[in-house]
């Protein structure tokens, strides 16, 4: 569980995060959504420790990140898996070398044990015939699978994903979303996903945090987001005609059930 209490962050006098408090629960896909410039990337980078909050605390299962010693912080980082927007795979390495990287860096496993674990994870994310290929030789969807495999290979407690399905076709995007959700449930990971993809919001949003101008404007889940009348959320999530129609239909179904 990650507990965020009143975090604030400014850059060059501009306050980007204005006292955000929320809890990201274990075994759930937690989504941070919001318009461009709402502070969601800064929020994610602050959670990851790339930015230090000006004030407030971030607690990883009781460990307050800003109070940790450098050794403790390094240990915490080995418990974190991250899927970057552009996958951030190492160009010079093959797919299996990319996935094995955290194991080689942070464990004392033998080469045989590393190979076994890598193959296990490769099977889990359904990567077929890609082991010896370089990232540039595989599709965007496969690169995302490799990034997920690399993020989970060392059994992380926390998984962060920055727009994991950006640049993917809608079908592959859903596959990747579902894969992240399955892995979250299967391994009991605290997953935090930064997205502005509405399919993801409606599909896998077990806990959704909506940011507007650096403030937490709404939180709930994918069922509640359909029913909410919060103007900011409605403006953002249902900005397209298609989603407005979907919302209307789903609310009707909901009302009929009542």
């Amino acid at each position: 569980m990650i507990e965020v209490k009143n975090i604030q962050k400014s850059f060059d006098g501009t306050q980007v995060l204005k006292g955000i408090s929320t809890t990201f629960e274990t075994g759930k896909t937690n989504l941070i959504i919001g318009q461009s410039g709402s502070g969601k990337t800064v929020m994610l980078k602050t959670l990851l420790g790339i930015h230090t909050p000006d004030s407030g605390t971030i607690s990883f299962d009781g460990r307050i990140s800003t109070n940790l010693t450098s050794t403790e912080r390094r240990e915490l980082r080995t418990e974190i898996g991250m899927v970057f927007q552009g996958s951030a795979l190492f160009d010079s390495m093959t797919v299996e070398e990319n996935i094995a990287f955290p194991l080689k860096m942070f464990t004392n496993k033998s080469d045989a044990e590393i190979t076994d674990r890598v193959n296990e994870v490769i099977d889990r994310v359904n990567l077929i015939n890609a082991n010896k290929k370089k990232p540039s030789e595989i599709s965007g969807g496969m690169q995302k699978r490799v990034a997920i495999a690399r993020a989970i290979v060392n059994n992380p407690k926390y998984l962060f994903c920055d727009e994991p399905n950006s640049g993917l076709d809608p079908k592959t995007a859903i596959v990747i979303d579902n894969l992240i959700q399955e892995i979250t449930h299967e391994y009991g990971i605290t997953t935090v996903i930064n997205t502005h993809d509405m399919n993801s919001v409606l599909e896998i949003g077990e806990h959704i945090v909506f940011l507007k101008n650096g403030v937490l404007a709404w939180s709930g889940n994918h069922k509640e987001i359909i029913q909410t009348d919060n103007e900011d959320v409605v403006d953002f999530v249902y900005s397209s005609e298609l989603f407005r129609m979907v919302r209307q239909a789903m609310r009707q179904i909901g009302n009929e059930k009542k």
Binding site: R73, R74, I80, G86, A88, F90, K104, M105, F160
Partner: protein, 248 residues
């Protein structure tokens, strides 16, 4: 401008310090060092050999063509070739060329890693990206004097080839010139310079790649800037070292 310059210098020294923090596991580091030796040292041998041989030849021919006074002995062609190649051409000018070849490779490869978030990925995993990326390059360039040694040898061979094959000087006279007034300290001086130039060649381009911001266009700009500043640093270091080591 002065403030910006001082900020860069300060940040460069902080980078040098942080490069030695949180050392990467030796098992991984060993592989990285061998890869860098292959990329930076072995990969430079071809162009260095080609340039050294032909520039050595041109030095010999130019010297011969300018020795119009019959009282000046022909063996001076060998002497001038040796002095030019060992004192300046091999250590300094090959290093300037390497600032373009090796330096732009380092800046663009690290810069691309910055742009594509690979450096962020390393940091998030808890890896010291500076140690992981820059330290192996620094260790690899410890072999840079070996490249310059080859450059010196081939430059002199090129001089002999140009002088003798062009009938400007006999082989015996050229060799006499090579041995004339030989000062072993000149070789030591050249290798001291080379060692420092190697350090600059690994660290300045790494600095410009690591701290670059922006996209693909900025990677190109960073490579150009890195070449300019590495060359400036090499020329200034050359001047200071020559004043300190060779001036009486």
């Amino acid at each position: 401008m002065i403030k910006s310059g001082l900020t860069h210098i300060g940040q460069y020294f902080i980078m040098l310090k942080e490069m030695f923090s949180k050392m990467t596991k030796w098992k991984v580091m060993k592989v990285l060092i061998f890869k860098e030796i292959d990329d930076l040292i072995i990969g430079s041998l071809g162009i260095v050999s080609f340039l050294s041989f032909f520039v050595g030849g041109v030095v010999a021919i130019q010297t011969a063509l300018n020795l119009t006074n019959p009282l000046i002995p022909k063996y001076l062609i060998g002497f001038a070739t040796r002095q030019s190649v060992i004192l300046e051409f091999a250590p300094t000018f090959i290093s300037i060329i390497m600032a373009g070849k090796m330096g732009s490779f380092i800046t663009s490869s690290i810069g691309t890693m910055r742009v594509t978030e690979q450096i962020d990925a390393l940091e998030v995993m808890g890896v010291s990206s500076l140690n992981y990326l820059v330290f192996p390059k620094l260790v690899a360039v410890m072999l840079y004097p070996f490249v310059i040694g080859i450059s010196m040898f081939l430059g002199i061979v090129g001089g002999w080839f140009g002088g003798v094959m062009g009938n400007f000087v006999s082989s015996e006279q050229f060799i006499i010139g090579l041995q004339d007034s030989f000062t072993p300290f000149h070789v030591t001086y050249a290798f001291i310079k080379t060692f420092l130039f190697g350090f600059l060649l690994a660290t300045i381009p790494s600095y410009f790649g690591y701290y670059m911001k922006g996209g693909a266009l900025e990677v190109g700009k960073a490579s150009t800037t890195s070449f300019v500043w590495t060359s400036v640093a090499i020329i200034l270091t050359n001047y200071i070292l020559t004043s300190l080591l060779l001036s009486n």
